[in-house]
């Protein structure tokens, strides 16, 4: 069987840009149109490189007195000529070159990963995009409305902070779009907007949950725990989704990065909470949320029971005093 040799042109991130089948030698490589392989790299000379096959069948690359030279990678040593094997990688200008034959092994296909497809469909679906955006606008409207306590100031309060909120959102989205332009050459504005809206809804959901728990007298220690878990969840999910939309990196790596960053943030929160618990403080720490009576889930106790239970509170405070005086 005839030997098939490919010359692969890689970009500087090791991604294959072009694959040229070498059917006859010598093969000339450069920027000029006279070459067999034409490279659009401004650091490559018009006639940069020649690949020849010696009488013994050895393939050799020769520098054609180019301005910037020929380098053997990954060592980066400049050479005039070099024999080419399957493990040899050359660099001319900003372009990497290597040979490949029919027998070269390739990796097994990567698994698609659960939910990635769903996520793609989710953020790209027009219906989902419209629904999340509407939900966010409705939520902000309701939230602002709940701050209206004076009928003369209805519109003032309703529109209070809106321009700032809009600006902040645009800055946030443009950051991710900018990242997208760099890595995948696409804005994907609507996808990022949908991710943002979803995160906004999720974080509000978690703050409602916290308010509900706080109203139902769950201790502030548990509340802090819920807070930290929700930061971890919402933040890592959001970071992953944005990165996934604007880069081509592997999902496993993205998850790792997202969880590391979110984990760092929640660890900081947790440490601060622990520190503030140990520090002397004049503040009263208790679950202080108030919601309409209908949100009450926890049972009510009698006055006598409340003050009987206060004995454990006294014991805790006394213990605190004893440990401080030790």
């Amino acid at each position: 069987m005839e030997e098939v040799i490919y010359l692969e042109v890689l970009d500087r991130f090791d991604r294959v840009k072009e694959r040229v089948r070498l059917s006859s030698f010598p093969v000339e490589v450069g920027r000029a149109y006279s070459n067999h392989v034409i490279l659009d790299d401004r650091y490559v000379s018009p006639c940069h490189l020649r690949i020849v096959r010696g009488s013994d069948g050895q393939i050799v690359a020769e520098d054609l007195s180019s301005r910037n030279g020929l380098f053997l990678m990954p060592e980066g040593t400049r050479v005039r000529t070099t024999p080419l094997g399957l493990n040899t990688q050359l660099r001319i200008g900003r372009t990497l070159l290597r040979l490949r034959t029919r027998d070269c092994p390739v990796d097994e296909a990567e698994r698609e990963g659960i939910g990635l497809d769903l996520q793609e469909r989710f953020v790209n679906s027009g219906r989902v995009q419209a629904a999340t955006l509407t939900a966010v606008i409705a939520l902000i409207g309701t939230h602002q409305y709940l701050g209206v306590y004076n009928e003369n100031q209805f519109w003032n309060v309703l529109l209070d902070g809106m321009p700032q909120m809009l600006m902040a959102t645009l800055v946030y989205l443009s950051f991710w779009c900018f990242l997208g332009i760099i890595f995948v050459r696409r804005l994907r504005f609507r996808a990022h907007l949908t991710i943002f809206c979803t995160l906004f809804l999720l974080s509000h959901l978690s703050s409602w949950l916290e308010a509900l728990l706080s109203f139902n007298c769950v201790s502030d220690l548990w509340l802090k725990g819920v807070d930290i878990v929700s930061i971890l969840f919402v933040f890592s999910l959001g970071l992953f989704a944005h990165l996934w939309t604007s880069t081509q990196a592997r999902p496993a790596h993205l998850w790792l990065l997202a969880i590391l960053i979110a984990g760092g943030m929640s660890a900081k929160e947790g440490l601060e909470a622990i520190q503030s618990r140990w520090d002397f403080s004049q503040t009263l720490r208790f679950s202080d949320a108030l919601l309409p009576p209908v949100c009450r889930v926890a049972p009510g106790v009698s006055v006598q029971d409340f003050f009987r239970d206060a004995r454990t509170l006294k014991d805790r405070v006394d213990q605190d005093r004893a440990s401080a005086s030790r």
Partner: protein, 444 residues
């Protein structure tokens, strides 16, 4: 309302105790009341006579910081019989009681020499202290043994602002009505450094001890009867054991709170009507109650605020960092027919989570607060109730307690009520809080 420290011109004129932003206020007050000072250069014949009669018994009391040798606090003292004891205010010697190893007490002789003094006994509640001085002043002053007449001329003496011995003429205005400590109202100016000095009648007999100034010639004196009680006391702390004074102070604070809270608990709590609720009203005669309501146009809700508190001069001074022995409570009512429940309770939450009156204390004095929160049902009403407690580190058995309850009922009126008790025993704190909560009723 100025705080205890700034409103307390008699003690420790050390700049570290007065927050910088309040200094301007203080100077304004000082300038304003400066003309009220009568210095010995322009004395009336009576004042001149009194001054000559008692000056031999007066002494400047000073607490020195042992490491720097500089003064930490100054005041005035006077020698009474028997045995040459010198009487001054507790707050003048409080740095020594709090940190005995870091301070020593001395008296300044007219020739500016420092004479060592020993603390013999204290009365934290009436702000009195008894000193034994190695080389006491030559004379003594006698104590008045019969009640004075309102309007009588009296003379307060002391060493204000290190201006030298000063006599201030004023009028006797009887014992303050509806007061916890029964102090004498002296219409005359007391100034920082005069604390512990005597206020005498025209015959040179002590009627009271300088203790507090509210400015504008409204000053307070500790009645001489409490001085007599202190002098006659049989059991005294052991002089060689400075820790004994802390114990003594603790015992006096416990007895004091037992007395005044016990008195409140001995009767049914008086209540007042507030927007459909019956809530605790003026619990004791010495509490001052105030009210206010919102008037803003276009507001979708109305608020009413009712609060009762002791006057600052009734608080007990333990140290520059800690005041105790007081009681205050307040009711915040929010009513609205227009607001939905979410907004009503959102507004209520703002009142529930903030606006706690602070109880001044440092990390060496108290633990951090710990709280218990529950839903409580009482007389058909549901409340979200929080009780926060912290223990005194130096005074075993004393606590600061903050009790707050927010009503959660199906009507358009929400109530947030707060009871603050500083320096109380645990049992008194929970007993009073329980009675307080149980006395709240919905009348509509």
């Amino acid at each position: 309302m100025p705080t205890f420290q700034t409103n307390e011109p008699y003690c420790c004129p050390c700049s570290r105790t007065i927050p910088r932003d309040r200094l301007r206020w203080l100077w304004t007050v000082l300038l304003f009341i400066a003309p009220g000072l009568v210095h010995s250069a322009e004395l009336s014949p009576e004042a001149d006579k009194v001054l000559h009669q008692v000056r031999g018994a007066l002494v400047q009391v000073q607490v020195n910081d042992t490491s720097t040798g500089a003064k930490a606090c100054t005041g005035t003292g006077f020698r009474v019989l028997p045995a040459g004891s010198v009487v001054t205010n507790y707050h003048v010697v409080s740095p020594f009681v709090e940190f005995p190893k870091l301070h020593r007490i001395c008296c300044i002789a007219p020739d500016k020499t420092e004479i060592p003094a020993t603390l013999i006994d204290i009365d934290v509640v009436h702000d009195l202290a008894l000193l034994k001085v190695a080389n006491p002043p030559p004379d003594t002053i006698s104590l008045l043994d019969r009640p004075a007449e309102k309007g009588a001329r009296i003379f307060a003496l002391g060493f204000p602002f290190e201006l030298g011995l000063t006599v201030v003429e004023g009028l006797y205005n009887d014992v303050v009505k509806e007061s916890l400590h029964g102090r004498i109202h002296f219409a005359g100016s007391l100034n920082s450094g005069m604390s512990g000095g005597p206020a005498v009648n025209v015959s040179g007999q002590v009627m009271g001890v300088n203790v507090w100034s509210r400015g504008n010639q409204a000053s307070l004196l500790v009645p001489v009867d409490f001085v007599k009680t202190l002098i006659d006391r049989k059991q005294r702390p052991s002089v060689g054991e400075p820790a004994d004074f802390q114990k003594k102070a603790c015992q006096q604070l416990l007895e004091h709170q037992g007395r005044y809270i016990g008195e409140i608990l001995s009767r049914p709590l008086p209540t007042v009507e507030l927007g459909g609720y019956r809530v605790p009203g003026k619990l004791a005669p010495y509490l001052k109650c105030w009210g206010s309501s919102s008037h803003e146009r276009g507001n979708l809700f109305q608020t009413s605020h009712y609060s009762c508190h002791m006057e600052n001069e009734e608080f007990l001074f333990l140290s520059n960092d800690q005041i105790t022995g007081f009681l205050k409570f307040s009711h915040f009512l929010i009513t609205s027919r227009q607001l939905d429940r979410i907004r009503l309770y959102k507004r209520c939450q703002a009142a529930f989570k903030s606006g706690y009156p602070s109880i001044q204390a440092g990390r060496d004095d108290v633990t951090s607060f710990d709280c218990q929160t529950r839903f409580v049902t009482s007389k058909g009403l549901t409340f979200k109730v929080v009780l926060c407690l912290r223990a005194y580190k130096q005074h075993l058995g004393l606590y600061d307690a903050v009790f707050r309850a927010a009503s959660l009922n199906e009507n358009d009126t929400a109530l947030v009520t707060t009871l603050v008790m500083a320096g109380v025993s645990y049992s008194n704190a929970v007993d009073l809080a329980q009675r307080y909560l149980e006395s709240i009723q919905w009348k509509k």
